[in-house]
Symmetry: C2
Subunit: 399 residues, 2 copies
DNA sequence: CGCGATATGTTTCTCGAACGAACAGAGGAT
DNA sequence: ATCCTCTGTTCGTTCGAGAAACATATCGCG
């Protein structure tokens, strides 16, 4: 995950490991397991981590001490031997998430373990500026303040922005649909909310979320493709870690070539995936230009005449997926947004087209799946951005 | 040092860190620095690793004890303070490398530090089978045996194969130009040579080599593209680690779409990069069908009429690079084989075409570079395959 | 119901890795 | 010649993990 510029514990930029770092690594490992895989018995943690049970005892005790985890009575296991207490991630350790979009701003509260505590969507009259987003979001957070004070420990704020984001600087280089360009978002949000703020690209965060809590659980190599009104974004998990790129702009998968005789894309290139596979063109044949993504499945089922356009888009999508398979050799391709609806409309066709184009995948054909998290996607992804800092160094983030 | 029963250091598949692993990690870090960046003073190692100087002293002593490094008198530095001894990687710790190809089998000996000690190319009458490759290679190794016994410690054997390789099983799934299919290569080579053998895809190893010892030094995100008579292969370094894929078949970059109206590729798809950018078509306009890669630069300079075809291929190459930039956001694109010659023939054209197609790259345009290692490429890459095991656990690999 | 087998928590001791402080050595600077 | 600075060396300290012995809770069985 992102390296949060957390000003504490300088860590000396060295690559060597001291003893402190062993402890840190092990605390991080345990807490990460609890967060991603849910509550576990201490005995199971011992096996998973491969450490001595007295060590696990000490590690769990430290996490409990830090209020990051708690233990409950052993569950009825029916097995012989002394029952092992269940260790839970403390779901009241939370991240605030913000997702500014063209028509609304969504604020959420997500706890350790990926628990979605709250999610509030506030529609906007027009496409919001950065300042308007700050105002709306901080208003929503103020409304939650009493609740948060009552029982949560907020670790930080994560923002998912639909556009190119330089996470390190907290600057949105270009978010075409929001009209943001070279906009420092971290500073104003941090000023308004008084908490550490981190930003990242929405598709990247969606990929993280699906890989940890959705269709990509346990998969180490996957390509996530998301189709929205604003185009096609994506993210890639390669060997268990997110593809970032030198400047953090990787995985602009909607801007890869699928048709050299195609039309010019707003990005300047020709025949990009998102000019051919496109919500607008789908809505046109469905006769509903303003249909939301939620209604899309039903709408597709109701308009049989749309089949031809759907199949055309699926065939083009297969071309792109064929490329991604050659490039990444992923275990799974996960389709979100309207691409999920498209896939569901005719899974066999996409399957067949992709198989016909996969020459490396013969041994073990790539899995095609629809994304699972739907509306929770970005909220959970943005929370991961914040919680990753805590997971990385559970004892270091003092409050 | 401790003469523990070096049975294997079970490592228990756990993700937790014990103290042993701290030591292992630090030894690995130091030795890796020496191998990749060359000899260093102890004081410099201390700064780079961020460890205490007494710790570095102990680590270096252990490496010297293991005969993996040696120290020499301090060099004239002209600086104040006590001079620091220079620590060298022991270049007589070596890997044997084997590179079977359609017309020859090359065997090499490479030492720590990336030193190429020997390289012998043995042309073959026909495309070699696995067994013929084993015979030729073990013959060549036997010829070197006396020399090796005299002063080298051979860690293992690394094989670079032009095709899809499952490194884990040591099986070549498909090497079209060699005609190998589902061939277990590790077993016969290991039997003939009596040493541990590892196999990997040649383009992957070339990428490793260029990134460590060639044009990609110090770069963490790069795409390497290699053009040979058999097509275009590639490798990707993302965030400092090689892209592998779920089955190890990633980075088949020659089989990505560049022309939807193109011709059918042997892989079954249409309009692949390697059907358009192609040594055969280049040689056709140069009037030399059998020209080797070494003569290509001179030949291109001598045949001005070839310019049109060169520019066409460069433009197509730019399309593919534009895709790779959108997908990976690399810092650098490195061109090897005939793609290097192509680039050198008209660098400005490729530069301009790529810039016109790079929408994410605006901030910091991607670097375009020709590969540097040339004929040493695969030998050094294959050695890295073997040495990586030693670097990973310097004290664990007993002999 | 009591006993053994089994698995796991708990306590205590030991080992090992890195660190820090104090000292020693080797060069440059004055 | 003397001081300053940097680094190697030695030794005691700290801290994290492991191992062994013991304690505890459950199952299975007679």
């Amino acid at each position: 995950m992102t390296d949060l510029p957390r000003t504490r514990r300088t860590l000396s930029a060295g690559v060597g490991n001291s003893n402190d770092q062993t402890r840190r690594h092990n605390l991080s490992t345990i807490l990460t397991m609890l967060h991603h895989d849910g509550a576990q018995t201490r005995a199971r943690l011992t096996r998973l981590a491969g450490l001595n049970r007295s060590t696990i005892g000490a590690l769990v005790a430290e996490l409990v001490d830090l209020d990051l985890a708690y233990e409950t009575e052993p569950a009825e296991s029916g097995l012989v031997g002394r029952p092992s207490p269940v260790v839970h991630p403390n779901e009241r350790i939370a991240a605030i998430t913000i997702n500014p979009d063209v028509d609304a701003i969504t604020v959420g509260v997500v706890g350790l373990g990926g628990v979605l505590h709250r999610s509030i969507r506030s529609p906007t009259d027009a496409v919001p500026t950065v300042q308007q987003s700050v105002d709306v979001a901080s208003g929503l957070v103020r409304g939650l303040q009493a609740e948060l004070d009552a029982g949560f420990r907020v670790v930080g704020v994560g923002i998912a922005v639909p556009g190119l984001v330089n996470s390190r600087d907290g600057v949105v280089t270009l978010a075409p649909h929001l009209g943001w360009r070279d906009a420092d978002v971290v500073t104003p949000f941090a000023a308004a909310l008084g908490r550490p703020v981190t930003v990242a690209n929405d598709a990247t965060l969606a990929t993280v979320a699906e890989s940890l809590f959705g269709a990509g659980r346990g998969v180490h190599d996957l390509v996530y493709l998301n189709g929205s009104a604003s185009g096609i974004g994506g993210g890639v998990l390669a060997g268990g870690s997110m593809l970032r790129g030198a400047q953090g702009y990787s995985a602009e998968l909607g801007h890869t070539l699928v048709n050299s005789a195609g039309i010019r894309c707003h990005c300047g290139k020709t025949g990009c995936l998102e000019t051919e596979v496109n919500l607008g063109r789908l809505q046109a044949v469905l006769g509903h230009s303003g249909a939301g993504l939620d209604e899309l499945d039903a709408l597709i089922a109701a308009v049989p005449d749309a089949r031809q356009e759907i199949d055309r888009q699926l065939d083009v999508l297969a071309l792109a997926i064929g490329n991604f398979v050659s490039i990444f050799d992923p275990e799974s391709i996960i389709l979100g947004g309207f691409l999920g609806s498209l896939y569901e409309a005719n899974p066999a066709r996409l399957r067949a087209s992709v198989d016909a184009l996969s020459f490396t995948g013969q041994a073990q054909p790539v899995r095609l799946e629809r994304a699972q998290l739907r509306s929770r996607l970005l909220t959970i992804g943005a929370a991961e951005l914040v919680l990753a800092g805590l997971l990385d160094d559970p004892a270091g983030t003092a409050f």
